[in-house]
């Protein structure tokens, strides 16, 4: 039989136990990767990782930083990630959004503020984050966006999310939004679809209630 069996110790690798802050600033890419992963268990890990994220250029190390911040899942983690939603680097921006999506509990209290960010691109991403929130909360915030946001793009994404999470109570806000952007045929079309979908789900629910 050519297959072999070795004792666990034969190939065991030591777990990295590194002083994260220093290595994240000065180490090689491999060392920074290991330090970023270890930092999730370090005191002040979120702060250290947030500082490292500001200058880290290696995509792999950034990914480890994001994952450790997600694992910590604190308000500090969210604060460290949110500024990167404004990055010009699409990889960093996407990485930040993915990380925030993976920590819905920590992100939920910040979505309202993000929906009022001066940068419409951030507001678009915030609508997407609302998708993971409890529906009732998300619907309230997104209906407010439909009534107040000046960007048709932002409203378009809010409509897209409401098509999934919306209930009958969202229909008036959708109608008002269509009236605010009368010259945007794509938004009008999205709103029509969302309204039809919400209305049909409401009908189905009423039928189920009548015939349990």
């Amino acid at each position: 039989m050519p297959l072999i069996r070795k004792t666990p110790e034969a190939k065991a690798a030591p777990v990295e136990n590194l002083p994260a802050a220093g290595i994240l600033q000065t180490g090689s890419a491999e060392e920074r990767w290991a330090a970023a992963r270890a930092a999730a268990d370090a005191p002040s890990g979120a702060r250290i990782l947030g500082e490292a994220l500001l200058h880290e250029q290696d995509a792999r190390v950034r990914e480890a930083i994001f994952t450790s911040l997600v694992r910590i899942g604190s308000e500090t983690s969210v604060d460290a990630i949110v500024p990167h939603l404004r990055s010009d680097d699409p990889n960093l921006r996407t990485g930040a959004l993915d990380a925030l999506r993976a920590m819905p509990k920590a992100v939920t209290p910040r979505v309202h503020r993000l929906l009022h960010d001066p940068d419409p691109d951030v507001r678009v991403l915030a609508c997407d984050l609302a998708r993971a929130m409890p529906s009732a909360q998300a619907n309230t915030l997104l209906c407010e966006t439909l009534d107040t946001d000046e960007s048709a793009n932002v409203c378009g994404v809010a409509v897209d999310v409401l098509a999934e999470t919306g209930v009958q109570e969202c229909l008036p806000a959708l109608a008002r939004c269509a009236m605010r952007f009368p010259d945007d045929p794509f938004l009008a079309f999205s709103i029509k679809l969302a309204r039809e979908r919400i209305a049909s789900e409401g009908d189905a629910r009423r039928m189920a209630d009548r015939h349990p």
Binding site: M1, P2, L3, I4, P8, V15, R37, T67, G73
Partner: protein
């Protein structure tokens, strides 16, 4: 269970294992908790949860065992096994000296069908199997299934995909539709308990050339999936491969790996040129 009790239990389970359950899975959770309450003689959720938190008589492990899904069979998703011998191993040995060791990890391995399948498949389909030291490790979080894997006794349901000649070559009939894998094969595979989202635990397994990690990441939430993906990445040698279940995609979990499309399967590769840690 009340809503709050369910949330507490799910939170506890998530922190220990990375497995994510919520109100939508209430029936699944309640059934398993009820089983464990019965087994421990607990008369209320509160008394069971107190026992669980104190880990009386290894109850944490027992509960984890109750939550892991362990049904599998020999030669499951055999297109990946074909990919292993038709494509992956050729890539792996390109950079290895003759006689070097090739390490393959099956995680989670459940009751052992997958690592034993890999071993049988290699013996049957890889002409160079004698030229390399092939080390196969099966790991799982569930200690009950690991015990069964070490035992190597399987029922006919697990053997449904195995041709009769292989059954004869690698198994000994035990009667009553039970078959025991031959000792030579049983003793060539090492089984270890590992939680895939635990960085320290996975690190003790060393580095691998190929990892089979099928049908487990679907049970994790986004955060645990990311962590597990990084742990797998860390455990791979540069150029090493991860094989996931047919409904899983690493691209949706982590950008760390390169997608490799072969005739038999799509797999994920750790880029070459990453230094060994």
């Amino acid at each position: 269970m009340t809503e709050e009790e369910l949330a507490r239990l799910c939170d506890f389970l998530y922190r220990r294992t990375g497995m994510s359950y919520d109100e939508a899975k209430r029936y699944y959770v309640e059934r398993r908790v009820a089983d464990r309450m019965g087994a421990t003689g607990s008369t209320s959720f509160a008394s069971y949860f107190a026992l669980l938190r104190a880990d009386v008589q290894g109850e944490v492990e027992q509960l984890i065992n109750a939550f892991t899904v362990n049904e599998t069979y020999f030669y499951r998703e055999d297109h990946q096994l074909r990919c292993l011998t038709n494509s992956l191993l050729a890539e792996v040995i390109k950079t290895k000296p003759y006689d070097a060791s090739v390490r393959i990890w099956s995680a989670p391995c459940a009751t052992g069908e997958e690592p034993y399948s890999i071993a049988i498949w290699l013996l049957e389909n890889w002409p160079q199997v004698d030229a390399y030291e092939v080390e196969i490790i099966g790991s799982d979080i569930d200690t009950n299934t690991l015990g069964a894997a070490r035992e190597g006794v399987f029922g006919s349901r697990a053997m449904m995909r195995l041709p009769p000649d292989l059954l004869e070559r690698y198994f000994v009939a035990q009667g009553e539709g039970q078959w025991r894998i031959i000792d030579e094969l049983r003793e060539s595979i090492r089984f270890t308990q590992v939680n895939l989202v635990d960085r320290a635990e996975t690190a003790t397994q060393g580095k691998f050339d190929i990892i089979f990690c099928r049908n487990v990441l679907i049970y994790f939430d986004d955060a645990s999936r990311r962590l597990a993906a990084e742990n797998l990445y860390d455990r791979l040698n540069p150029g090493g491969f991860v094989c996931l279940g047919h409904s899983e995609s690493m691209s949706r979990i982590s950008p760390l790996f390169e997608v490799q499309r072969y005739t038999d399967a799509i797999v994920y590769r750790k880029p070459m040129g990453i230094a060994r840690v």
